[in-house]
Amino acid sequence: MEEKTLAEELTKNLDRGFEKMVRTYQDRMYSFAIRLTGHVQDGEDVAQEGFVRAYRALKSYPGERISSMDLKPWLYRIVLNVFRNRRRGYRPTILPLNEGKAGPGLGAREDASLSPQSLLEVSEGQKQLAKALASLPGKYRVPVILRHMEGLSYGEMSEMIGQPAGTLKSNVHRGLRMLREAWVRQTKEDER
């Protein structure tokens, strides 16, 4: 409902609509980017960059295209792409970054950058959860974040990532199981 009026406003007046759009989605994109990067500062950069790209894209789109757009998944995808491009830029890596085919991809590399101070989390439990999440391969991590932390529907996720909903469902399920296992492992390690 809100989406529709926002898209209409963007067609009528891009600059005003854009401001409203940032206001509406900044919290979502910001937390999404933090979960992706595992860093507060990096997350903020990625989310900002995402909005800047969205603005440039909207500027070049014809009105009919904007009014038929589904803004939320579109923004998530931009932020996700910014994140991936950055990773690619940071280190010319041997690991494939494309989702789906990524082996022990994105996640494994997060660990190094994941110092406890860099995390916003206050409680012990959340810190461990962050660690566990960061250890998850990107193939599972992104769908888990989108589904269970951002609350997107499978339809939206499917449109955004370009995978069938069924694939995503099983990846979320597996990812969640792996996350719990990783979390239990983490807790045990910490106890030692």
Binding site: V22, E44, A47, Y55, L176, R180, V184, E191
Partner: protein, 269 residues
């Protein structure tokens, strides 16, 4: 304690709930302005001297976005944020050309073409303000004139409201719009300020009010058979012996006068 946590995450549903709770993080307060600055939509401000004292002028890539009379910079930043919902920063380097343009425009030295950011306004409000821009310095027009000119002759009150919400008073001369009976009327920056600004532009508010008292609405010239608003520069040129006073449009039309094509005191139908 560790055990408690284990128990907490023991159930899958609880685990998901924790994830969801953790997923919500508020973006920092400067997030919006940082994004706006990066796409060139952020506002900066500076001060300018005017006939009614110092005012704060805000501008962004689209043009001038606000003119406000505030006690000090902090008060201005606060009212700007309240009204437009975005933050604003003092100009790192004063935009020299803009300051000069604003000063010349306000001082009546030159007419400068200026851009305005009227994005926060409705289509009607921005039509009213664009029409207001056409009123020359030293002249005034009634609210009803604006309403008629923008094709909404019945929206006289709405015009008043739109003008009271003018984000850039002085530069968009809403002070040049007065009541239909000729009285000066209200102003976004205060009634006294309106008189002061008009006086600085060469309009005598006392004369306007005395004309209003006498019920005179239009000046006609018996040589040309044309009638004008009293402040129209064509009306100023009518010599005393040829000056005819009218109390209403009907009276002028019935005497065989036609409306001036410059100040358009009546629709030229």
């Amino acid at each position: 304690m560790k055990q408690d946590k284990q128990y907490f995450f023991g159930k899958s549903r609880d685990f998901v709930a924790e994830l969801r709770r953790w997923g919500k993080t508020k973006a920092p307060t400067n997030f919006l302005s940082a994004v706006l600055r990066r796409v060139g939509l952020e506002d900066i401000y500076f001060r300018v001297d005017t006939p009614i004292g110092q005012v704060f002028v805000a501008s962004n890539s689209k043009g001038i976005s606000a003119v406000m009379r505030s006690r000090n910079a902090a008060a201005f930043e606060r009212s700007f944020r309240e009204r437009f919902g975005r933050s604003i920063h003092p100009a790192d380097e004063p935009p020299k050309k803009l300051i000069r343009d604003v000063a010349e425009q306000l001082g009546g030295l030159k007419r400068r073409k200026m851009n305005f950011d009227l994005n926060s306004l409705s289509d009607f409000e921005s039509a009213v303000l664009h029409k207001t821009l056409e009123i020359p310095r030293g002249e005034v027009r009634p609210y009803a004139w604006i309403a008629r000119e923008i094709g909404r002759p019945k929206a006289v009150r709405a015009v008043g409201t739109a003008l009271s919400r003018n984000p850039v008073p002085l530069l968009i001369p809403c002070h040049r719009v007065v009541r239909s009976d000729g009285k000066v009327g209200n102003y976004a920056l205060g009634r006294e300020a309106k008189r002061a600004v008009l006086e600085a532009e060469g309009v005598d508010p006392d004369r306007l009010e005395s004309l209003a008292e006498a019920g005179t609405r239009f000046y006609g010239s018996d040589t040309t058979q044309i009638f004008c608003y009293p402040t129209c520069h064509q009306a100023q040129r009518i010599s005393n012996e040829h000056q005819v006073l009218f109390k209403s449009e009907q009276e002028a039309l019935q005497s065989g006068y036609r409306p001036c094509k410059i100040c358009r005191p009546a629709s030229a139908s």
